[in-house]
């Protein structure tokens, strides 16, 4: 394996817009909201940024395709700006682009920024996109919840878990996030929801009810990265560095051969294995102080606990019900409320997760602050569990 980027890149500034139904602003203003906070946090001028990576998924409801509209919105003049799009991993991809540029020595300071303006679709849920001229001829055009809901059938079959028990466990996942989201000022949904309400909600895609699905929100988040040396030269003392960013993308094996049983996400396992190696993590259950995972749907978070090797296979249900991932548990998961409460502006989510880890590491998380946090993980899962992209990044104090 290559030497990786561990501790070669420091995050010196981050910003995050308020997430939610942002009827008040367009995408350009959302980008500016996150960008302004990140610039201020980094204590640099816009002109010091050497290159930028901007992430968005749905061009028709954002500023448009290419990097030009984002560069225009942020008035990034004459520097290389690239647009990233890799489904729900888009925000993390933007960070990866910026971090790799810095780690390579190509640039000194780089910006990663991601946004999505989902409330400009006119309805709830994600816009329906073409899957390509060939795939449109045969692939069922199911919704995102339908793609992930299939994990439930696969999981309960593999582990012989009654439908009711699995429903209760995924209900706990959403219950926990709603409990946590109350403490997040920038979250879309900030209301605790009783478990019974979650369990009895209208069905979206069997067995996922309304509260098993994350919200659809507008939002943007940004990170400014540089080398640790430059960071120190800029006067930064507590350095949050990137320990690893890894990605895994499907080749079609899960969806075309019988080498996948529907109960887990192979890409997450691949990306986590590589990220742990890059970051030097040998016991994630002990070493990770908090995690922000891609809880697009409650069943996704459940299987992700096993895919990140935090719960043993078949044990996620009991770990979740035992409170292992609760705010006061051993490995708090979604202490900011996760996608469940922030909503999921595709291009922003990966950076929003990093924003929470960054603030927790620096002790700036306010009412949400956990004690003794030195390393945290973010995880994104784009596409569908059987044909998608997973990103795992690890951030820590140097």
């Amino acid at each position: 394996m290559a030497s990786g980027i561990k501790d070669k890149v420091a995050i010196i500034g981050m910003g995050c817009s308020r997430f939610g139904e942002r009827w008040d602003v367009g995408t350009e203003a959302l980008l500016a909201e996150a960008f302004d906070e990140a610039l201020q946090d980094a204590g640099i001028e816009r002109g010091q940024i050497d290159a930028a990576w901007t992430g968005s998924c749905f061009d028709r409801i954002n500023v448009g395709n290419s990097a030009i509209p984002a560069a225009t919105a942020l008035r990034l003049d004459g520097i290389p700006v690239s647009r990233m799009e890799n489904m729900c991993a888009t925000g993390t991809e933007a960070l990866r682009g910026a971090a790799y540029a810095v780690a390579s020595g190509a640039v000194d300071i780089a910006l990663a920024i991601g946004s999505e303006k989902l409330k400009d679709t006119g309805y709830g849920g994600l816009p329906v996109q073409t899957k390509g001229t060939f795939n449109d001829l045969w692939l069922p055009m199911g919704s995102a919840p339908a793609g992930f809901a299939q994990l439930a059938a696969g999981y309960r079959t593999r582990h012989n878990i009654p439908k009711e028990d699995l429903k209760r466990a995924i209900g706990h996942v959403s219950w926990k996030s709603h409990q946590n989201g109350v403490l997040s000022p920038k979250a879309h949904l900030r209301k605790a929801v009783p478990l019974e309400t979650i369990l009895n909600a209208p069905m979206i895609a069997e067995p996922l009810g309304l509260f098993d699905c994350c919200g659809v929100s507008d939002g943007a988040a940004a990170a400014i990265v540089t080398t640790p040396e430059i960071a120190r030269a800029l006067g930064k003392r507590d350095l949050v560095t990137i320990k690893a960013i890894q990605l895994s993308v499907s080749s079609g094996r899960e969806s075309t051969t019988d080498q996948w049983d529907g109960s887990y996400v192979r890409n997450t396992r691949n990306a986590a294995t590589k990220a742990y190696k890059e970051a030097g993590i040998t016991d994630p259950r002990e070493q990770l102080g908090l995690i922000e995972v891609h809880d697009c749907f409650s069943i996704t978070e459940l299987v992700t606990m096993e895919d990140l090797f935090l719960s043993e296979d078949g044990r996620a249900v009991s770990d979740i019900l035992d409170g292992f991932y609760d705010r006061d548990g051993k490995v708090p998961c979604q202490v900011d409320g996760g996608l469940k409460c922030f909503g999921h502006p595709i291009g922003a989510s990966g950076l929003r997760m990093a924003y929470e880890i960054y603030n927790q590491l620096l002790g700036r998380a306010g009412e949400r602050q956990l004690s003794n946090v030195s390393m945290g993980l973010t995880h994104n899962l784009g596409g569908v569990p059987y044909l998608g992209v997973a990103a795992v990044s690890v951030l820590g104090l140097q």
Binding site: T133, D136, W138, A146, G154, I204, A205, T257, D258, G262
Partner: protein, 478 residues
């Protein structure tokens, strides 16, 4: 060498609606419909049409026979989905009949199905697949809405293992316009029922039958079974009487469970007769419309060899009764429910891509890697398992392969004309796996492991351009 019917098979959509529900819906303005509120009628799902029903009837007819021997495919319908695009070609590709098959669509009259069958029987020659398929649409609250149904029948004609041989035929052509439908119009227009019966069926029908019997050199008394299609009850009995055929020979017209299927009806009724026929039976089959076509058939000792895997009686019995008039009306474009913004997605088909991949998409041809053995759909440039180039992939059609449910969900969020959309992974015994839409699902008896069989259906409807594209879906084994 005798040329005749070698094999046959029918298809009836699973959906049924009680006629009493139709009558009750319209009772406020058409109370007389109650008089016809007996039994139930078949109606197509949103993703079934003349093409898909033809494919299913043909599969039922052909069974495991070598399809490459079929030299001609002829499809009769008055409700084909396109005015200018050959339905028989779509069917031929779905059935993998090969590029050299001669294909032809015939329409223009409810007599079309019988016309195609009688002409093909008379013409002889290469093995011929005759199809008749109909998805009749009727104006809400019309008598036809009560009478019409949907279905298809397929007949393989040839010279080997003939199950029923042609021994006589006749045709009569007149300009009696009992009903008509102008191009571009949605519904049929009918003239008075009594006039149609007395001047049409009873005179023209009986005339053609007498001539066909004379051509065959047989007496009316010798007729074992008599098939005469008509939307109204009692017509066949009256025509039989006028032609001197015994009342006991009159075949049931599938009124109680299917309904009248226009150009397909003679053939659908004939398939039902043949399902139960013994050697040596004399069968008279008529088709009516601007005259009549009649054939006289005699079953042979090989009659049992032509029977389909699914007799029509089984397909009729497998019906699923809904209580929703609105569902039928929506599927037939009689009402237009608000489908929400998600339905606004543009479903334009890249016809170039469709042509390039027609074997895969229409023929459901997967590839088996000659290096590692993996069966894969779709076939891309390299093997999914060992990355061998696509030249190593050998064609393997999945249409008749066994499969089961690996994962599934019922998707209530995505746009679907009949929500929720059941979808998930079908795992084939031969090793292929793909994400599929599940149809004809009984929610109470569907789970991981449920056995599946494949159905040719409409994949998506491009309402903007009036184009339907087709693919295969998976249904629980009936």
């Amino acid at each position: 060498m005798t040329f005749g019917i070698v094999a046959w098979g029918g298809y009836v959509p699973r959906n049924r609606l009680d006629r009493s529900v139709i009558a009750a819906t319209h009772a406020w303005m058409a109370p007389s419909l109650k008089g016809q509120a007996k039994g139930r009628r078949a109606f197509c799902n949103w993703d079934e049409d003349v093409v898909t029903m033809s494919v299913e009837a043909a599969r039922n007819c052909l069974g495991p026979r070598d399809r490459s021997v079929v030299g001609n495919i002829q499809l009769a319908s008055t409700t084909a989905p396109t005015a200018d695009l050959q339905s028989s070609a779509i069917v031929a590709v779905a059935l993998r009949l090969g590029r050299k098959v001669n294909s032809m669509d015939v329409g223009g009259s409810h007599r079309a199905g019988m016309a195609v069958l009688s002409n093909a029987l008379r013409a002889g020659g290469k093995p011929t697949l005759v199809l008749a398929s109909e998805r009749l649409r009727a104006k809400p609250a019309s008598v036809q809405e009560m009478q019409y149904g949907a279905g298809a029948a397929a007949f393989l004609l040839g010279s080997e293992n003939v199950a029923a041989a042609l021994i006589g035929s006749a045709s009569v052509t007149t300009l009696l316009v009992d009903h008509f439908r102008a191009s571009g119009f949605a519904h049929d227009y009918f003239w008075e029922e009594r006039w149609i019966r007395e001047e049409g069926y009873l005179k023209i029908g009986a005339e053609a039958i007498r001539e066909a019997l004379a051509d065959a050199g047989v007496a009316p008394d010798d007729v074992t079974s008599f098939v005469f299609p008509a939307p109204s009850r009692g017509i066949a009995d009256a025509v039989a009487k006028a032609a001197g055929i015994a009342p006991t020979a009159v075949a049931g017209a599938l009124e109680l469970d299917v309904g009248f299927t226009g150009a397909a009806h003679s053939l659908l009724m004939l398939s039902d007769i043949l399902d139960k026929a013994q050697p040596g039976q004399l069968i008279v089959v008529a088709g009516f419309g601007q005259g009549a076509d009649v054939v006289v058939l005699r079953t042979t000792d090989a009659v049992a060899s032509g029977r389909p895997a699914r007799p029509l009686a089984d397909l009729v019995a497998a019906g699923h009764t809904t209580q929703s008039y609105a569902q039928m009306a929506a599927f037939y474009d009689e009402i237009h429910p608000d489908q929400g913004m998600r339905a606004e997605r543009d479903t334009k088909t890249a016809l170039t891509e469709q042509y390039r991949s027609s074997d895969q998409v229409n023929g459901f041809v997967a590839g088996q890697c000659s290096s590692c053995g993996q069966v894969q759909f779709p076939q891309l440039a390299y093997c999914v398992e060992c990355q061998a180039p696509s030249t190593a992939l050998e064609p393997l059609c999945l249409a008749e392969e066994k499969a089961h449910v690996l994962t599934f969900t019922a998707d209530g969020l995505t746009f679907h004309p009949s929500p929720p959309m059941y979808m998930g992974f079908a795992q084939f015994d031969v090793g292929a796996r793909l994400l599929m839409e599940f149809v004809d699902v009984n929610p109470d008896a569907f789970d991981v492991g449920t056995a599946l069989e494949m159905r040719f259906r409409i994949k998506e409807r491009d309402e903007t351009r009036g184009y339907y594209r087709y693919f295969w879906k998976a249904a629980p084994v009936a």
